[in-house]
């Protein structure tokens, strides 16, 4: 059995002549890994996932699942894959029982197994009492939960989820997190895209960062956490906007490692971890330089800050 269950090779997807949604993306995901695919809206996350689930074809490159080219042999490649892409429609005029029965048959499940799984899955997504109700009477969150139920219905060993917590309430988000953690224990491979970096850091083993269609970094959440532990972040808001020369002066203050602009008056100062006195030192020196500060909030650097610093290095929004 191959260890690498999801692989993309130099994946490129262009829309028309001008838009390159995915630009030479290559990665491998091993069995049992839970990998987050991170990036802002429009980074190319959903496009990659649509290629991996045969909803669109790549302009060039290959996407393979269990070593099988998804776009050439979808029947074989997607047999053991559960997917949730974007916010799908869920056949409002049917009932969850009818929808899941159809998909169970597509996955060649026996009648007994379909019945058993409908009960289990609807219980899992809190829709037990709605088995024979028309989906058109469901709220958006319930529809979303049913779509999640469909993705895990045939007990796949690979899950591809695009923004899985989108449209869920806080309780639903917590349940989704627990569900993914449960898959982790069952050795299910999970590839999930999100722009909610905090959520991803809670469930993923490793993350792939995407920006402007390009893969800019891949690392384990643990290692990123270790790297970020060495830093402290201070968000500073000035009374008036800072000029470029002001900014250069600010950067000259010792112990300041990096200054990132959030907007005209708001900046993120990154400094190597030191004693709390250095945080106080930065504040004192900044005031001494004559800047009027209206807010000064130190915090621990996290995955989001790591991503922002990566994007900043590539000339993206800081």
């Amino acid at each position: 059995m191959e260890d690498c269950v999801i692989r993309t090779e130099n994946l490129v997807k262009k829309f028309g002549n001008n838009i390159t949604a995915v630009d030479d993306v290559s990665f491998e995901i091993e069995r049992g890994e839970v990998v987050g695919y991170l990036g802002p809206n429009g980074a190319g996350k959903t496009t990659t996932i649509k290629i991996l689930t045969n909803l669109i074809e790549p302009t060039s490159g290959r996407a393979c699942i269990n070593g099988i080219d998804v776009n050439r042999y979808p029947k074989e490649a997607l047999k053991d894959v559960g997917s949730l892409i974007g916010v799908p429609g869920v056949y409002g005029y049917l009932t969850p029982n009818e929808v899941l029965t159809y998909f169970g048959k597509v996955y060649r499940m026996s009648k007994e197994k379909i019945d058993q799984r409908i009960e289990e899955v609807l219980e899992m997504v809190n829709l037990s009492g709605w088995r024979h109700s028309k989906i058109e009477s469901f709220s958006t969150g319930m529809e979303r939960r049913l779509a999640i139920g469909k993705s895990i219905f045939h007990e796949p060993s690979i899950l591809i989820l695009d923004e899985p917590v989108l449209g869920l309430d806080p309780e639903g988000i917590r349940e989704m997190r627990e569900l993914i953690k449960g898959f982790q224990e069952k050795d299910v491979t999970v590839f999930l895209s999100s722009h909610l970096l905090d959520e991803v850091s809670k469930v993923c083993d490793s993350v792939i960062f995407l920006y402007d269609g390009k893969m800019i970094e891949r690392d384990s959440v643990e290692r990123i956490d270790q790297v970020m532990k060495q830093y402290r972040l201070i968000e500073v808001e000035f009374l008036e906007k800072l000029s470029e020369s002001d900014l250069d002066e600010l950067k000259k203050i010792p112990v300041i490692d990096k200054v990132e602009k959030i907007n005209q008056t708001k900046f993120r100062i990154m400094k190597k971890e030191g004693d709390p006195a250095s945080t106080a030192d930065i504040l004192r020196r900044t005031i001494e330089e004559g800047y009027d500060i209206i807010s000064y909030s130190p915090k621990k650097a996290d995955l989001e800050d790591f991503y922002v610093s990566l994007v900043g290095e590539r000339g993206g929004p800081k």
Binding site: F15, K50, I56, P74, V81, P88, Y102
Partner: protein, 271 residues
Amino acid sequence: MKSIMEDISEDVKNTCLTVSFELKKHFRMKRMIISFALAIGLPLIFYIVPRIWASFPDTAEEFANLNLSFVNLLIIISGSLFAGDSVVGEFEEKTGLLLFSTPQRHSTIFIGKYIGALLPTLAVVSIYYLTTSLEIIGIYGTGGISIEFFKSFFIALVYTTSAVSLIFFFSSILKRKITSTLLGFFSLMMILPITSSVLQFLVDVEPWYILTYFEGLITDVFVGAGPIGGGPEGQPGQFSPDFYTGLIVMVLYTLILFSVGVFMANRRRME
């Protein structure tokens, strides 16, 4: 890897699953009930009205001719209902995000959708003919059912297949369910018949390549109509569709529109 036969058998199974899923959808959306009610209700009008207020025509052929002149309308209504949103609906409603990411060839899904739209439309036409035949038997006896009646039924089924193929084709290429359904409906109801009339009456050309030109064959079989010609010596517009030409043109429409429809649907992506 599977053998070719296993592969084909899986594809056939997937197509059958889509057909049954489509039929369930039509049933749940009450399209079937509406169409079947029309298929029984329309011919009943032709039975009840003369029974109460007038008298029945002298011959079974005349009765069938009158009764079946409305089957075309039913074909258009049912075809638009069942095929109008078959492909485009999956894209517009985004249900395709669930459906097309399953381990099935997309073409098997689209073929299933076509059959899922065709079968109930054929069933509606069959119910219409069955009701009419029962009426004929009730009024004129079993002898009232002539060979022409079966010929008419046969041509109605072929015409239904080509009409559904045309609407399915629109559903494969258009972006909105409503556009595809209305374009299908008005093409068969107005656009093609008007084009056909313009060619016949104003240009004096037989529009043998226009599908709706042959819809008249459904009732023409009862009056033994054949080609009466046009051209310089005939009166403008005096064309009558030939049975066999009609059959060939309808089959060609079906084959071409179905194949192109599946091809175009297969090329569409959930972008």
